[in-house]
Symmetry: D2
């Protein structure tokens, strides 16, 4: 394509958190430019933000409704191609649906919507329009994670038996929501976050990562959810025993009260012949263990020699990549897919390798299932999605 | 005491595995000498073993019954003080009970007996005789583990919320029991091992470590047990959600099919203010995390400055200790306790810090509970010990 | 400033290596846009590259001379603000000097020039013009490195005694220059690389990092340089004993024949009261050791709470940053400095915290000194810069 | 042999440090028993120590001279077989020579003597008597170190190019010798320690480890020695550039003022095809790197499958061994050698694999060479041993 892809943004003002990450990730590869936005419910902040992002005033809108309407009226050579939605969960569905209705592709934060029903509606609209949606399950964007998935798919470890996914955080060990922490505030508010707290925020990441790498879907689970901080309104901790397709089993751990932990998402997968371990704090290494030979450390850019790892990496071996590059991989593959389609080409499997609406639906089902299971002391196993 | 403590041994011939570890641990501190034994059901192996251990022929016995009877008749200045029992599980109770009946203290491998009932009988006999029993839950012998327990007990982390104990092994990923591996053979045989395989062998270790460090007892659990290798007769894998006293919760993971893992026992405990992590592969470090200051690496012999760590350590900081020293700590504290008693003194708390009959009973209850819970898809929570 | 900074580029075509890294780093923060370039000595590659970078054809030039001349004639609102020079060492001075003569700021790869004399001339021109030059000693761009520098400067460790800087690579273990590796080819060619191979390429990084963190300058050194691969024309390995100001001493190790190593640059600094360790493979951690308290792991975004670390970081704690973000910090601070100047403001110390001409001169002096010392078996200590 | 080997001891009273380590190491394998000793220059301490070690009073001597004379007169079935000498350096030669003259084998701490000349005299006496001497260069007792040596010898890495040996400690960062630290006191006293401080104490370890693993001997070196703590009388810090046989080169670092470091001895060796890394803090792992395949972690007892690693290991994989087991390997191989000789057998290569008089001589030459080189700013390279 002879021009960059044009991005609009809902949310992500200077007072927000994840919006900045989205922009960094989007701009890095010089394929995407920001052309418009509605950055805040506060018009002053939105305006100020637009200025800082070097936007002309007329492309900074007061409401997302206004944005979609006006952008849709702009000539093709000018209007945005896609919108990035980085608002709290309860403001996901509205802008996403309206974007699709107005012909814009969508990048959106997880969990995809407030309810499963909304996710299913987005799916219908996507099928109807043929538009593309990317969901920022960032951890599946790491090259080492993609290489891990490939090793499993290629049968290196034989049939998979065990999958342990964990995501311990400690930032909600105290009542941060009462101390002016805006992130903590909406994430622990069922009206803004949805029916799950910890499980929606980070449990969904662990679940998506487990299914992404193993290629196996959870079929039923048995869970225990807790709220450790007094007066908190949603779960801040939980764990689940998992059963997957093809007789694999595992554990999912997600907690926000593991005092002192940062974003220690980690996954281990074992098959008949070997296993793997990936940990976000050292994201460029994939530890691979075998029943019949020494443990290996595969390294992005060096000894992790798959095409998928190379395609999703930007530096020579030993020059570490991180979270922003993983995030950028989602944007890049999403952008490559759209560009290919615009040029009338079929996107390659590598281009299509980013989380989308199906991950979104699985994520909402995970929330429903784990919440149902997690507070019921009588029923042990709950079928996934039921 | 003006002489070493005299040890006899049941099991531990040259064809055995854990017996050698017991001897290394017992001899290291120059407090204990081997004076007699019945090292094998095969008298030839027993004799040959006795020779290699520098025993006179008349102190190598054909049966443990013979040993206890004859040793009991020897003069006090000659006969053994205690016996170490290192036979497969189904030959624990017999020699242990007979040893107690004949006035000998006991060191015994875990799980303490074949059934809970046997453990309770040993308890009665111990109370009746006033003799001492040590159970080799080795991991609680590490100085860093003892320091961890102390930090929790001292309230450093506030009220404890989360306890994650895991013990992944990979050595039973294949059908080792069919390939001439004697260890695999008896450990997967319900007639020799008991009602649990993996959970009895290593699940009990994870459970004991969790209760030892946290000072909290499991009150109920929800489990899922599996047998991954075809035709294996006992569980080779499992996991449990745990509920502890005082509202703590956690996870226990024990598996022998985590292909490529060695003895990767690890524990993490989190309270309101911080948490700790200990991993056997780096046993001299205790990672301590905090909500309000940087993560610390406490090191045995250096910055782990409790008396309990010092008492259970033998080298200057930076000169790593390992499994044998942890094992030796059980022997040393057990020996110090007996010696103190022989001298009419009250053993100190440090001397008494070794696993004993109560750990044995808890272990048998754990096996009963986890097996009951692990195969029942209808009942979610099973009360511990019921 | 109400617009992005405009970048031109010399080198960095689609066939090049480090140019892509520069662009990623420059674009990430949405402060800089590429407006023109002369990307290759091969005009076809240059044109093709320009297209891929979304440049109009008239801003892709055949020679850098043409570029500087034509850009200089464009109106202020259109012409580039600065040029990034990413050619092999022997094509550094020419474009850099011409850029300055035409009023453009410069970003340039290290080593800054082919000879020390050229570096001194650039310095004169910079002083004369008041323009700004940034030198991409990337490792000093890591937030943990900047925090380390601050801890030393704040006196946390007392007077500094020891500085160990090492940069082992393994990629030149074989004769890669004979196997079609373009990077290996020019880097081992004295006509393109200069008088040093390994020491110029990575020894300079280790030297700059040592001086940057410690705040101390090398005063004399004693070196041994080697060429291990037969027929290679420059050093591929070396080491030096270092003497610094204020009685600190240390070691510098740089090698390209440490088979199997990636870019394992690491530094350790010890003072009277404690020390620090930073290693590129885990760049978000700073290990801090003390004589009187446990070792600490300080983490970017979490427990590394200086303003300088925060200013140079883009993600929340536990979401790792890497090489590209370190690189981007140089661009960002450089851009902030220029923007401040354009607005008539004094750049803050944080803005000015990027390597520049003085680092370039020190680097060239390092090369001269280490080469002089490294092949002379008679003279032990060579004064730095003599 | 149908009895244990009988050990006497010079030094190692209850007030000493390394003596306890020797006893732990000697007793662990049940091959050696302590039968006599002269544990201190203070007869009271010596007596008290003997009691605690369960010795009869008549085998605790007031002087080592008395001990050797009286023991020599005891019948073969009673007298000691060998003596362990664990006194400060200046009391090494006297008892060692007298032991040999009286027909006793010797285990002795490093550095072997006070001067090179004494070491050469011991060598003569050993050749004359055919007795055996073991020198406790502990680090070469680790199974992973022995496996490393074997991998190099087997040519796995091709021709060796680089050897980096380092031993940083921090315990002498302050003037511990003035604060009642007995270890610090004699080790910094040239009358007791010899002509080197840090280099004699730990530099010798790094040197021995480098030669042991690489199989190459240092031919010349260039050094810089320092004394950082005011009024200290010997070096507390230093480094050397090394040249080995067969064109290998390297670095040796030894310091006692790396504040916060414990006993962080580490070695890296690189050849044409790969390299290895061993670090005492994780002694059961050997990191092996390759030019053409992923880095491997070889583990003692698991994937480190040489006979030499197995012979020098006591636990199953994943149950870590440590410093005491490495130390015990020296005792065990020494004891096996003597026992074989007593039985008229030729000791195997595995039995003979312990440091001895040749290591002692090399060590004394290292001290002489590094001291000569380390204070001479004019002469760059000093031939080893000249």
């Amino acid at each position: 394509m002879n021009r960059k892809l044009r991005m609009g943004m809902v949310g992500g003002g200077t007072d927000a958190f994840i919006g900045a990450v989205h922009r960094l990730a989007a701009f890095m590869d010089n394929q995407i430019e920001l052309v418009c936005g509605c950055f805040s419910v506060n018009p002053e902040i939105s305006k100020e933000s637009g200025k800082l992002y070097y936007l002309p005033e007329n492309r900074v809108y007061e409401t997302y409704q206004e944005m979609f309407e006006k952008e849709a009226q702009l000539p093709e050579g000018e209007r945005m191609d896609f919108v990035t939605i980085v608002t709290p969960n309860f403001v996901h569905f509205g802008p996403a649906m309206m974007a699709l209705e107005n012909g814009f592709h969508v990048v959106i934060d997880k969990p995809i919507t407030f309810t499963l029903d909304e996710a299913l509606k987005l799916n219908e609209k996507l099928e109807e329009t043929g538009l593309t949606l990317a969901l920022t399950h960032t951890y599946s964007g790491y090259p080492a994670v993609k290489h891990a998935r490939k090793m499993v798919a290629d049968g290196n470890f034989g049939k998979i038996r065990k999958i342990y996914a964990e995501y311990p955080q400690g930032w909600l060990s105290g009542a941060a929501e009462n101390e002016g922490n805006a992130q903590a505030s909406w994430r622990t508010d069922p009206k803004k976050s949805g029916k799950a707290g910890c499980m929606g925020d980070i449990g969904t990441h662990a679940h998506q990562l487990a299914e992404y790498i193993s290629g196996l879907r959870v079929t039923e689970l048995c869970a225990d959810l807790n709220t450790y901080v007094p007066n908190r309104r949603l779960d801040d901790d939980g764990a689940a025993l998992l059963r997957f397709e093809q007789d694999a089993t595992g554990i999912l751990l997600a907690t926000q009260v593991a005092a002192g932990e940062e974003n220690a998402i980690k996954i281990r997968v074992y098959g008949e012949k070997g296993g793997l371990e990936w940990f976000q704090h050292e994201p460029n290494s994939l530890i691979v263990k075998w029943t019949d030979q020494p443990t290996q450390i595969l390294r992005v850019g060096a000894t992790m020699d798959s095409e998928v790892a190379a395609h999703n990496s930007r530096t020579p071996g030993g020059h570490p990549e991180g979270y922003l590059e993983a995030f950028a991989n989602i944007y890049r593959n999403f952008a490559l897919t759209i560009m290919a389609k615009k040029e009338g080409k079929q996107p390659t499997a590598e281009m299509l390798d980013f989380p989308g609406i199906q991950d979104g639906i699985r994520g909402m089902q995970f929330i429903d299932t784990v919440v149902k299971a997690g507070y019921d002391d009588e029923v042990k196993w709950v079928k996934f999605g039921e």
